[in-house]
Structures are given as structure tokens and as C-alpha cells.
């Protein structure tokens, strides 16, 4: 088995309905699928394991950012994968988008490939969600100086070099901003790829609350204050 392949990292928190399908579909295209079971109580971790994924289980729920960081640590410590693909377990992402983004990373040599639903397609995205996300994009562009159009998309490709420079420490969903904030200061190259994000009744019910942006702003502000002190 070639050791320098890509590794897919899938954070999983109570995704019983969709995790099996996601793992099976991913394994048809990627050799190494790693699920981080972030303290699920519905047995999602066991399902993922049975479906053939490598599973790392957090004994308590730490948040999606922490789950991804555990996945990153796994890749850096126990594999020789050159690329990591982060992929959500709830059915919002398309496998062919992930495959295409990985190919783009390989052909261009960039460190980070970000997915943009606003350059691509959204299927049944709730209007308010779209507004809040666009607000987040504007805010992140202001803070990071990045030319991005979708800042909270869980589908990404990261090179091993990028992994070694990124450390996700913010709680809850503020990690997305944290990840982007790590790009420019570390001199990482990036590009954006249009993708399709599909909102199902399941993922709409499960997703972040729109009001969570308040928490995210607080987390970011607190970290900046600490960093500058």
C-alpha cells in the first residue's frame, strides 16, 4: 500500500443516521479514512469502525475543532500521508468535490484548498443561515486579509506542511476562523474551489445555531486579548 496517500479526517458527533454511508462512500475513493468520535453517545463510533474507518474516540465531547486537531495529530504522528481531507459526517459534502479538491492540491502544490459553496452551489440552504455565513465571510476577510468567499465550510484539503503549522485551540466552532487565521502568518498558500453543499432536513436540524456567531466572536476576541497581553 502506498504510504504517501491522502487521509480523510471526519469529525463525528452523534451522526448515527449518516456516518455509515459517509464512511463507505469515502472508502471507495480514499484508502485511509479516520473518524474522530467526539464523545458520541449514539454508537456512531462503533458504526464507523464496523464500516472500516480508523476510529479515535474522545472520552468526552471536546468540540469539532478539537476533534479535527486530534485527527491532525494522528496523521502527523502515525501516518506518512502528504494530504489531509477534512470532511463532514452529516451528508452535506460531496465525495467528488473532495476528490477534485485533492487533485487540485496535488497539481498546484498549494498548502490549503478551501471549499466555497457561494462560488459553487447550495441546495436548500436556509436563507438566514446564508446571511449569517456571508456575515462571517465579511468579518473573516477583514480580520485575516484572505480572499475567501466561504469561511465555515468543513470540506478542506491541507498539506502535511500546513498541518504542522496549524494548531486549533478554540472551543466550539470558532476553530474555523482560527484555521484561516493561521494561513497568512505561516506563509501557507491557498486556493478556493467551488463545491456543492446540500442541506437536508437532518443536517439543518443538527447544524450550528445561527446565534452561535456571538459565541464565536467572543472566543476570537478573548484569544486576541490573551495573545496581545
Amino acid at each position: 500500500m502506498p504510504s504517501k496517500q491522502a487521509c480523510v479526517v471526519v469529525p463525528v458527533f452523534n451522526e448515527l443516521a449518516t456516518v455509515e454511508r459517509t464512511v463507505i462512500d469515502l472508502r471507495a475513493h480514499f484508502g485511509d479514512v479516520v473518524c474522530i468520535d467526539d464523545g458520541s453517545v449514539d454508537g456512531s463510533g462503533d458504526i464507523a469502525r464496523a464500516a472500516g474507518a480508523t476510529v479515535l474516540r474522545h472520552a468526552i465531547n471536546l468540540g469539532q475543532g478539537a476533534a479535527l486537531q486530534t485527527g491532525f495529530d494522528y496523521v502527523l504522528r502515525f501516518t506518512e500521508a502528504e494530504y489531509v481531507v477534512t470532511f463532514d459526517a452529516d451528508g452535506q459534502h460531496r465525495i467528488d468535490d473532495a476528490v477534485r479538491m485533492l487533485a487540485r492540491a496535488r497539481e498546484t502544490g498549494v498548502d490549503v484548498v478551501l471549499a466555497s459553496r457561494f462560488r459553487g452551489t447550495t441546495v436548500e440552504m436556509p436563507r438566514l443561515r446564508g446571511l449569517v455565513l456571508r456575515g462571517g465571510v465579511w468579518f473573516t476577510r477583514l480580520i485575516t486579509g484572505l480572499h475567501v468567499t466561504d469561511t465555515h465550510n468543513g470540506l478542506r484539503v491541507l498539506s502535511r506542511h500546513a498541518l504542522s503549522r496549524i494548531r486549533l485551540e478554540l472551543p466550539r466552532m470558532a476553530y474555523a476562523s482560527e484555521l484561516l487565521e493561521n494561513i497568512v502568518p505561516n506563509g501557507l498558500s491557498y486556493l478556493e474551489e467551488p463545491v456543492t453543499v446540500t442541506y437536508t432536513e437532518y443536517s439543518r436540524a443538527k447544524g450550528q445555531r445561527n446565534s452561535n456567531f456571538v459565541n464565536i466572536l467572543f472566543d476570537l476576541a478573548a484569544r486576541r486579548l490573551r495573545a496581545s497581553a
Binding site: 471507495a28 485511509d32 479514512v33 476528490v99
Partner: protein, 124 residues
């Protein structure tokens, strides 16, 4: 007046502490010494109440009780900040342990038998 200087300096100092991740010099020994001195001061203040008034007057506070109150307020805020930071550090330790446990107990999937190990670009 001296008390105003002391109080403003304390408030600013606490503000700075709040921003830091780790209070410099926050060692158990200093806290214990500080605690013992606090106990001694309390005993003295109870036995010789006139003393608190004299010290208060020296720094520009009319009543001894007011001085005691100011000291209490500042001590409380310091304690709240220090405790909050210790909790923050504990949370970080828990996170680190949970991660290490997850990595140590990893179950490796049978990715070897997956159909395709190298992703191919889709025809788009």
C-alpha cells in the same frame, strides 16, 4: 491621596492579569504566605480596632472598616481571576489527556483493502 493611588494601581494591575494566560509568580508558597499574613492581620484588627482606623487615616481613608472593605474587594477580584485562570488551565489539561487517550486507544481500520488508495480527479 495615597488610597486613590493604591486602588487605581490595583484595579489596573488586575485588569492586566485578566488578559494573561498565566499569572506570573502565582505559586502556592506565596499564596500560603499571603494567607497567613491575612489571618494575622485579621486577628490584629479584631484585637486592636483603633489600629485599622489609624492605618486608614494614614492613607486617606476615614474609617478603618472602609479600608478593610477595600482590601477585601481587591482580594476577591484577584482570587476570582486566579481561579478562573486555573480552571482554564485545567480544561486544557483535560483536553490534552482526552486526546492522548484517543490516540493511544485508536483502532485502525482495514484501509488496506479499500478499492482505490490514490484519489483520481473526477471528469469535470
Amino acid at each position: 491621596m495615597i488610597i486613590k493611588l493604591l486602588l487605581i494601581a490595583s484595579a489596573l494591575g488586575l485588569g492586566v492579569l485578566m488578559l494573561r494566560e498565566r499569572i506570573p509568580g502565582d505559586k502556592v508558597l506565596w499564596r500560603r504566605i499571603g494567607g497567613m499574613l491575612g489571618v494575622a492581620a485579621a486577628v490584629v484588627a479584631v484585637l486592636w480596632p483603633i489600629l485599622t482606623t489609624k492605618i486608614a487615616n494614614a492613607v486617606g481613608v476615614t474609617r478603618g472598616a472602609d479600608l478593610v472593605f477595600y482590601a477585601l474587594a481587591m482580594s476577591f477580584v484577584y482570587y476570582a481571576i486566579a481561579t478562573s485562570q486555573r480552571i482554564h488551565q485545567l480544561e486544557h489539561k483535560i483536553l490534552t489527556l482526552t486526546r492522548e487517550l484517543a490516540l493511544a486507544q485508536r483502532t485502525v481500520g482495514d484501509g488496506v483493502s479499500a478499492a482505490i488508495s490514490e484519489a483520481e480527479p473526477s471528469a469535470e
